[in-house]
Structure formats: structure tokens, C-alpha cells
Amino acid sequence: MNPFALLLTSLAISVVGAFASLLAARHEATAIRLAGLAGGLAGAAGLAAGLAALTGPVAVLDVVGPMPFARFVLRLDPLSGLMVAVISGLALVASLYSLAYVREYAGRGVGPMGFFMNLFIASMILVVVADNAFWFLVFFEMMSLASYFLVIFDQDDEAVSAGFLYFLVAHAGSVAIMAAFYLMADAAGSFDFAAFRAHPLQGTAASVAFLLGLVGFGAKAGMIPLHIWLPRAHPAAPSHASALMSGVMIKIGVFGIVKVAIDLLGGGVVWWGLLVLALGAISSVLGVVYALAEHDIKKLLAYHSVENVGIILLGVGTGMIGLASGQPLVAVLGLMAGLYHLVNHAVFKGLLFLGAGSVIYRMHTKDMEEMGGLAKTMPWTSLSFLVGALAISAIPPLNGFVSEWYTYQALFAAAFDGTFLVRFSTPIAATLLALTGALAVMCFVKAYGVIFSGAPRSHHAAEAREVPATMVAAMLLLAAACVALGLAAPLVAPVLGSVAAATLHLPAVTFADGAILLPGDAGRAVLSTPLIALLLLGLAALPMLLAAVFAVGRRIPRTTAAPWACGYLPDGHMTVSAGSFAQPIRMFFAPLYAIRRSADGAAADLGHGFDGFVCRARRSESLFDRSLVAPVEDAVARFGRRSQIIQGGDFRIYCLYIVAALVALLLVTLR
């Protein structure tokens, strides 16, 4: 089917669903179902459209819009097709999840929630296919607006404050992007992206435009140091909205960086890629270090999004370096690694947020310290969360490992021959990636362990039950996708490779050969995730066999042996908690945490300075009145009082005035 037809159908369903949900606001069950159904159908249609566009030719839809200076142009090329597929896929799963999850918000406006969710999804899809700068900005801001209302949905002080910070950073970012587009439009003569591509900016102007775009889109992506809104906004929103925000919205930030740097400005110079690489490396390390210190589960996941955006940017940065230094293999490999991690992160972060949402649905708290032992009472949730945790820690043979492997290979390839700076920074970036990986393992062992393992730490935890079937189904779908994207990597990698090659306008690179993955050149390295999976399962048989051989005569396992506590009776407080588990890292990486503390201190100082400024503004408000109006009034009054002397009161003086005037006039006329 024509991909545009599918895409427009998807958008139409979203919009209709949004308004239907709003109109049905009184009947909450109907509203929830309408919103979920619309989201699901729109997601399915969009997914089909995106997948069709991945390999197909570039399709463009060009109509005259209401604004004469900006034509309404939509473009489905492989990159936007990929983004549409990712957004729609996750929207489909999140809508399935919402059918049961949104019941938690009954009485607090589920109609408006469905309205904003569907508009959010529609605006995200429109952003990635828009091919005109004006409409891009319109949909970009609408996306932020819709998600703003989702963030402040709880309407408590923290949510409103988080929403304010979020929207402010998003809006400031979009103003920066607008400025970049203006610069590009001046050179191109119109606002169409096609015109930008045909007349790219050169020299300093191009670098200025790139930096503005990096700031604007980086703020949306949650790149350090523009990430301050992420850890507050994502936890405040409802979980299926957080899944979408963390899973796809921040990817639109990365998409924007790729679009500006590679698509519109044509690749630019090497230092652009190095800058992106550096920011990616810093984001990944700081993101995971800060995540380790959290015991609010959603804040932990939000910081992990910062980390993963950093990893994606490592790939994208390497791709840009390759493009600018004329190394096609490095370019395609780097961008492909970034795109693969983008897809993977959408899947496993969505899964983790939905899992967190399920836990919060039953526990009514976000604090990990109050959970524990949920694996026994919520088996499906814990299984899905475990798969997500393994995937995000890049454990083979799941999908996270494959994209990180490709990122390492991209960095390796770039370190071979490039400028000195490139050869210097890529191995350092790889080392930082390894550090990130190890920290991520620690963080997710902690997260999974504290929430699902051990003994329940509170009353609620002991009494939790499994969540409704639709929520379980949604999570299992994503868990299956994690496994599939990992094991079927030999099928997925070439497709993503072709997307990367098409975006860079470079020839395609071989990424797979049968069941083997390779980074363009089999001599470099090879990997086979299906083989690893097979071997793991196969070799697991050996220990089981051994245990079985010796099982004859052995008594059955007993589960009544309390853990050893030095002779004391063990107690719930003795087990490891979220805070204590991560304490060594907090100790060893103290300087990094100190950066955050000093930034908070600086923010407080700024706040005081601002209050002082407002005081002075208040005092100067009447400045014009005091210095301009009042003196004039006084002067007029004084003049009036002085001239009152003329009004003598005695009519004889007035007669004298008349005579004097007559005499004066006669003298004048006689002259």
C-alpha cells in the first residue's frame, strides 16, 4: 500500500481518537477505550507505513498550505520511515498498556489524557516527516505542548514545577532551532528543506547553524548539560506517557541533530563530529553515575535515558567524523550503530517504563526502598523487567549488546586512520563506554534486585498482585522485541545499514553474512548473537546434567533456612537497600556528584540575584512618572500659579489691560 496513505490514515485516526476521547470525558471507561483503540490502530498503521518506507523509494507529499510562505511538504525517506516505525510501534504498545493502566487516573480527567496522548503521538509523527522548516517547528512545539500537559497531569507542585522547566527548555531549544533554520533559509531563499539541501550553508554560518541546532535538539534529547528537565519531567508524567517521552520523544532530538548536521548541512567538518562524540561520552557517564544515586525508580530510568542518548550520540558522532573525513565505512558504521541503539533503546526503555508503571500501579509509590520480593507476586512483570534490565546493560545476546558492539566497532574503525584528535578521542570514548556499561550493570542489578528480589520491605509489597492482562501483554510484546532484535540482528542490521547509507548518500556496507554480523569487513571482527544464544542454552545443559546425575538419593530442596545474620534473627531492615548498594560508587565518584551539588548552589544564587533584580524593577516602575510626568505637572502648576498674578481681582486693572492692548495694537498697525 502507498506509505503516505497509511501515514495519513494513522494521523487521521489519532486526531479523531483525540477528540472522541475528549468528548466522551464523562463516560470514563469509554474514553479510555477510545483513546487506547485510536492509539493502537494509529500505531499499527504508522508502523506499516514506516516499515514500507524503510526500504522503498523516497516519497514526497506536497500541498499548498494555509501559509503562503511555507508549503506543506511531507517526506518519507528511509530515516523518517525508521522514526515513524519506532514511534508508531511504541505508541501501539503504550496504547495497549493504557487500556488498563489509565484506570488508575479515574476521576482525574482520563478524557483530556487520551486527547493529549493522541495529539502527542500525531505531532511526533508529523515532526519526523515534515520537510518544511516552518511546519517542522509548528509540530515540534505542538509535541512539547501536548507532552507538557501530560507532565503536569497530576497537578501537584512538583509536577507543575517539572512541567515548567520542561516546557521552558523545550521552547528555548525550539527558538534556537528556529534561528538555525532562519540562517539556512537566508541562504536557500525559502523554508523548504529541499531548498536547504540544494543550497547548504558554508563556513562560519554553517557552524553557527549547527551549534544552534545542536543546542536546540540536544535540549530535546536530554544531552548533558541541557538535561536538567529530564529527571523531573519523565517521572511526573503517567507511565505510558513517560515510556513514549523517554522512548521516542528524546530520539526526535537525536533525529534532529542528524537531520541538521548530515541531511541539511551536508556533513560539515570534523570538529562537529568530535563535539557530538565528546558530549555523548560525557552524557553517558554522568547519566549512569547519577542514575546510581537514585531510589525513585522513574528518576533512575530517566537518568538512564540520558546515558543512552549519550551512547546513541557516540555512534552519530563517529558517523559525522567519518562523513567529514571522507571515510565512508566509518560514516555508515557509526550512523548505523547510532540508529540501531536508537531503536533498541526505544524498545527496552519503553519496556522498563511500562514495567515501572506496573509496579507503581500496584504499590502506589515510586520509592524503591519500599518494594522488594515482587518477583513472586508479579511474575510476568518481573520477567519482562529482567529482560529489559539485561537488554539495557548490554548483556549478550540481547539487542542492547548488538548496538553497543557496533558502536565499539565504529569507534575502533575511526581510531584507525583519522586526524590525531580523532585517533586520540575515539579510544577514550570507547573506554568511557565500557565504564558506562559496567555502571549500567550495577545500576540495573540494583534496580531489579531491590524491587523484585529478596524479601518484601513493606506491607504493600507483601500484598501486591500481578497487573491486568493488557498491561502484561504490552510488556511481554516489548520483551519479545528485545530478544528478537538481538537474535535476529543479522536480519535487522543490514536494513538499518541501508537506512544509514541512504541518509549519508554513501554506498551500502555489508553488515551481515548469514547468521554472522560484521562491521563492513569480516577481517575486523565478527559476532553471532544466534550462536551465542544457542551455545548458552546448550551449555546450560551440562551443569543441569551434572546436578541430575548426583540427584539420586539427595533430599529435595528446603526453603526454610533463614539467611545467616551472625547469630541474630534476620529482619527486613538488615537486607541491602537501594542507597547502600550504590554507596561505593557514590564514594568513589564523589567529584561527579559534587558537580551536581555545586550546580544546584549556583542555581540558588541565581534565584537570589533574580529576586533582587525584581525588587529594583519594582522601584523603577514609577521612574517615568517621577521624572517625566510629575516635573511637567509641577511646572505647569507653577506657571499657572505665577500667571494668576494677572488676575488682579480689581476691574479697574482689567480696564487698564484693555486700554494697554488697544494702544499696543494701534502702535503695531501704524508702523
Binding site: A434, S453, L539, W564, T575, V576, F581
Partner: protein
């Protein structure tokens, strides 16, 4: 897909390592006893211990869940996959698709993930602290490993372990100083990974009561103890395969393999002898001060990197 000969070599490798692992820990025990001027149990003691444990009952804490149950299966499986991919008897990795340095590091991470998680799952405070320390050590050690291996890989032109080993054996590394330094850094990282004094943080015999192993018993404990000795042997084999590949078979012919096996045994014994001497001469490093040690590793690896960049 690997050829039949390669697959056979891989399987043989695994079986040999698995069978020999308790012998290695037995050897270390004998060495320690001799250094303490004790008689000590013989080198085959660990086999006897394992057989005895296999026949015992499996006790589990009431709080434990399915992670606690499956860890004794997952950990050895992961380690055995690593064993299949490391170049031990041959120059090339038996199965290139799993013989990549990144894959190896992350497979070890798989083992570590479940090892630590089971510690929390047991509900015991000692196990939890041990798990935390185990992961922290991973954080301190993995970057050093990666950087040193990356430098070696850059010099060799591939991230495949066999390729690097072959490059070292053939003398194709054009910066001997960088290779040497990288080897030293990697050796240091491997020593930490071995979990021997002064870095046996997770177990910390005296106060943490063997760390994540605390609550295991019976066949589960047997499998885990066996996996831990296998891991130690594997780490050393990894180091030998990359930086000391001299004597490995260049093809899969029987005489070459036999020779390679003998050379391997000699190398392993020599290294474990050195490890044993170091281990029994020091006390455990204070946990809080471990980063100072790991900075040393980072420093040496960075020096290797600088030498590589400078082309010296």
C-alpha cells in the same frame, strides 16, 4: 559457521578447562599450605569437596526467588561460552563469532550480573554487600581491560582475540613498548578479576563470609565453586591467549595441539605460581582505597595508549 574441526577444538577446550578447574584451585591451596609451612590437603581435595556437596541437600532462604535458583546454571553456561571463544590451544579463536574481545568482556558481565543479583535475591545482608562490591570491582576493572585490549587491537588491526594473539606471536605489533605496557595493564586487571588477595572484595572471607556465596549449599554451591575456579582459569587463559600466545598451534593438527596443550599447562602453572606467591604475601586492600590501585591500572593503560599514538 565454524568448521567441524574448529567446533571439535572448542568442545575439547571447554571440557578440558572444566575438568581441570578444580585442579587449579587445588594447586593454589597446596601452594598456600606450603608457604604457611603446613601440610595441607592434597591438590585433589576440591574434587572431593565438589562430589560431596553434590550429594547434599539444597537449602534456600525463604526470601529467595528464581534468580537464586538459576544462577548456578547461568554462570557456568556463560563462562563455558567464553571458554569456547578464547584461543587456548590454537592461535585463532576456535569460534570467531564469539571470540571478540568485546563479546568476552560482556559475557563476563553476564556472569557477574547474575552472580550479584543472586546475592541480593538471597535476602542476606552479607551476600548483598558482597554483590555490591563485586559490581564495584567490575566498574573499576572493565575500563582498564577495555583500554589495554583496545590498544592491542588497534596495533593488531582487529578486535578478534585470535587475531591479536597471532599478531603478537608473529611480531607484527609495530610498537613493542605499547604492547608490553598494554599487557601489564591487562595483567593487573586480570589479577583483580581473579578475586585473589589483595582484591578478594566480594568474598572478603573474614567479615563477609564468602559474599554472594553465603546462602548457597549442596549442588548449587558445588556448581558455583566450580564456576569460580573455572573463571579464574579462564581469565588467566584469556591473558595468555592474547599476550603470551607463543607455542599455540597454528593449525588443528594433532601434534601441534598436543604441543600447544603442554605449553599451555606450563604457562598456566607458572602464572598461578606467581599469583600464589603474591596472594599469600599480602593482606587484603582496604575497600575504600581500591580506586587508588585501579588508577594505577588506568595509568599504565593510558601510557600504553600514548605510546601507541606516538608510534613509539
Amino acid at each position: 559457521m565454524p568448521s567441524f574441526a574448529q567446533l571439535l577444538v572448542a568442545v575439547v577446550q571447554v571440557l578440558v578447562l572444566v575438568a581441570a578447574a578444580p585442579l587449579v584451585s587445588g594447586f593454589m591451596r597446596v601452594l598456600r599450605a606450603k608457604m604457611h609451612t603446613r601440610h595441607g590437603p592434597g591438590p585433589l581435595q576440591d574434587y572431593r569437596d565438589l562430589f560431596k556437596l553434590m550429594k547434599r541437600q539444597d537449602l534456600r532462604p525463604p526470601a529467595s526467588g528464581f534468580v537464586f535458583k538459576i544462577m548456578p546454571i547461568v554462570m557456568p553456561a556463560a563462562l563455558m561460552v567464553v571458554a569456547m571463544g578464547t584461543p587456548i590451544l590454537t592461535r585463532a579463536t576456535p569460534i570467531p563469532a564469539i571470540g571478540d574481545l568485546i563479546t568476552t568482556i560482556y559475557l563476563f558481565a553476564l556472569a557477574r550480573f547474575f552472580f550479584a543479583l543472586s546475592g541480593i535475591d538471597s535476602g542476606s545482608s552479607f551476600a548483598g554487600v558482597g554483590a555490591s562490591r563485586e559490581l564495584t570491582l567490575g566498574v573499576l576493572v572493565e575500563p582498564v581491560m577495555l583500554l589495554s585490549l583496545f590498544v592491542a587491537a588497534l596495533l593488531a588491526g582487529s578486535t578478534n582475540l585470535g587475531e591479536i594473539g597471532a599478531a603478537v606471536a608473529d611480531g607484527r605489533m609495530h610498537s613493542a613498548a605499547a604492547t608490553l605496557l598494554a599487557g601489564c595493564a591487562f595483567a593487573f586487571a586480570c589479577y583483580v578479576e581473579l578475586g585473589k588477595l589483595p582484591y578478594d572484595m566480594a568474598e572478603a572471607e573474614q567479615e563477609l563470609q564468602e559474599g554472594p556465596l553465603t546462602e548457597y549449599s549442596g549442588p548449587s554451591l558445588a556448581l558455583i565453586k566450580w564456576s569460580m575456579s573455572l573463571k579464574q582459569l579462564l581469565v588467566v587463559a584469556w591473558f595468555i591467549g592474547v599476550f603470551l600466545p607463543f607455542g599455540n598451534a597454528a593449525d588443528t593438527s594433532l601434534p601441534a595441539l598436543a604441543l600447544a596443550f603442554v605449553v599451555f599447562v606450563v604457562k598456566v602453572v607458572a602464572i598461578f605460581f606467581a599469583v600464589g606467591i603474591v596472594e599469600n604475601s599480602v593482606a587484603r586492600a582496604r575497600f575504600r582505597l581500591t580506586p587508588r590501585h585501579s588508577w594505577l591500572g588506568v595509568g599504565v593503560a593510558s601510557l600504553a595508549f600514548v605510546f601507541y599514538l606516538a608510534g613509539l
